[in-house]
Symmetry: C2
Subunit: 71 residues, 2 copies
């Protein structure tokens, strides 16, 4: 499930202060971030259904992120 580009992952790591980054670390970050995004999305979709709606709105993602606790 490679939705996130290596270039984006590397920029995020460099912005965070990384000096050198291995290719496998980049891939690992992409996987962890995508997993997190999928989990948030599923949580948001549950909230949407609970509210009797069909469209995922900003507030659903926000609440899902809050519910997911400290990361």
């Amino acid at each position: 499930m490679p939705e996130l580009s290596n270039a984006a992952m590397e920029r995020i790591m460099r912005k965070a202060g990384a000096e050198r980054v291995s290719a496998t670390a980049v891939a690992e970050l992409a996987e962890a971030m995508e997993e997190y995004g999928t989990r948030l999305s599923k949580e948001a979709i549950e909230l949407v259904r609970h509210a009797g709606r069909k469209t995922v709105k900003k507030e659903d993602v926000k609440l899902a992120a809050r519910r997911s606790g400290p990361i």
Copy 2:
């Protein structure tokens, strides 16, 4: 800090089961995912420095993700 594309965010949400997705929800997901990625990266970089290395490796990201707890 827009590193993640809207198209990728929308694909992640659709894969997770979303029927319809608002543009602001897509932006919100990008922000939450990038925040998570930044936090993981900083945590990984701390582990790298602690180990006296300069290169972030896969294992650093993995351990950072585990330390960040359930998401």
